[in-house]
């Protein structure tokens, strides 16, 4: 593949060659017939100067445009992008004209990332909460046991207290 810059220079050169070929010396002398008869050498010199100046001006213009738009670098970059993307078979994506839609593809990867992060956070928190819930169930069980123990002690003491009262009653008698 020919680089775009080289293609550009070639096309401009061809354009100039053809333009010069069209504006031949023959044609020039046909138009300036009288002057040519009067001063043929001068006519030749003027024609040569005309051609040289035209080519120089146009080439300088092309260089200026290349310079101004940094065209060489831009075209080389485009060559590179085209080279990288040449495996593309089906029609390449183009803006749909609906910005929101076109933007979705750009943003989607970040939303997918966010979704995955959130999923991980939720799963992690759910696991943590399951552990907490287990701990709470165990704690509730322990509280229950403690309450039962205390109840047992309390009943024992109450029985004791009852007996104490009976005893006192007996003793008082």
């Amino acid at each position: 593949t020919v680089s775009r810059v080289k293609l550009l220079d070639t096309i401009v050169d061809t354009f100039l060659q053809k333009l010069v070929a069209a504006g031949s010396y023959q044609r020039f002398t046909d138009c300036y017939k009288h002057f040519y008869r009067l001063q043929p050498e001068m006519t030749q010199r003027i024609y040569d100067k005309f051609i040289t100046q035209l080519q120089t001006s146009i080439r300088e213009e092309v260089s200026e445009i290349k310079e101004e738009g940094n065209l060489e670098a831009v075209l080389n970059a485009l060559d590179k992008i085209v080279e990288e993307g040449k495996a593309q078979k089906e029609p390449a994506w183009r803006p749909s004209g609906i910005p929101e839609m076109d933007l979705h593809s750009t943003i989607a990867p970040y939303f997918l990332q966010q979704r995955d992060t959130l999923q991980r956070c939720v799963q992690k928190q759910e696991a943590e909460n399951r552990q907490l819930a287990d701990a709470i169930l165990a704690g509730r069980k322990q509280v229950e046991e403690l309450q039962l123990q205390i109840q047992a002690r309390q009943e024992a003491w109450q029985a004791l207290h009852r007996e104490q009262r009976e005893l006192l009653a007996v003793l008082r008698e």
Binding site: F35, T106, A133, I136
Partner: protein
């Protein structure tokens, strides 16, 4: 129908047509300028020739004739050059520009995108719920700690009571009380007997 070549404009920062227009105008200007210079030089030369028969008007007519011919060739040739420029140089073939790379990897339809956003919103709600749940669970755990501490304190109290008995030589306070009752009954019986005998 003009092809706006917006994708090319996205890459170059200008439309190819505008670029070609700029080149065309510049080239044309040069052609006119050079022709003007040619005419000026010829007139200058004629000035130097005494009793010259050729008038400036004639020369101007010659210039116009040559220029209109050159202009015709120029337009024809430039048209071809423009076509080549627009087809081979200033055009983006079937590729994606770097800033659109994502479009290729993630072509996302409207529905898919809405669904993804909905999923994210649901996950966010779920996450918040889980965080509230965590707060609630932690709060209950804190409460349990306090309750358990209190219950253990109460148990400790009972244990201390137990120990009081033990510290005074009786292993189990209950039994000691029972043995106290039995001892006091014995004592009672003894005093009873003594009283009878003394009568």
């Amino acid at each position: 129908s003009v092809d706006p070549m917006t994708y090319e404009a996205q890459f170059f920062g200008f439309t190819p047509q505008m670029c070609m227009l700029r080149i065309c105008i510049a080239f044309q200007d040069y052609l006119f300028e050079v022709m003007q210079a040619v005419e000026w030089v010829i007139l200058k030369n004629l000035d130097g020739i005494p009793d010259c028969e050729i008038s400036p008007v004639q020369i101007h007519r010659c210039t116009e004739k040559f220029l209109s011919f050159m202009k015709g060739c120029f337009d024809n040739l430039f048209g071809k050059m423009e076509q080549l420029f627009l087809q081979l140089i200033l055009c983006i073939p079937n590729i994606l520009l770097p800033e659109d790379k994502y479009k290729e990897i993630h072509p996302y339809s409207e529905e898919e995108f809405q669904h993804l956003q909905k999923e994210i919103d649901q996950l966010q709600e779920k996450y918040k719920t889980e965080l509230y749940t965590k707060q609630t669970l932690l709060a209950e755990l804190e409460e349990q700690k306090i309750v358990q501490a209190k219950l253990k304190q109460t148990l400790a109290l009972f244990a201390e009571l137990q120990n009081v008995g033990r510290d005074h030589g009786t292993s189990d306070f209950r039994e000691s009380l029972v043995s106290l009752v039995q001892n006091s009954r014995k004592l009672y019986n003894i005093t009873d007997d003594v009283e009878k005998e003394s009568k």
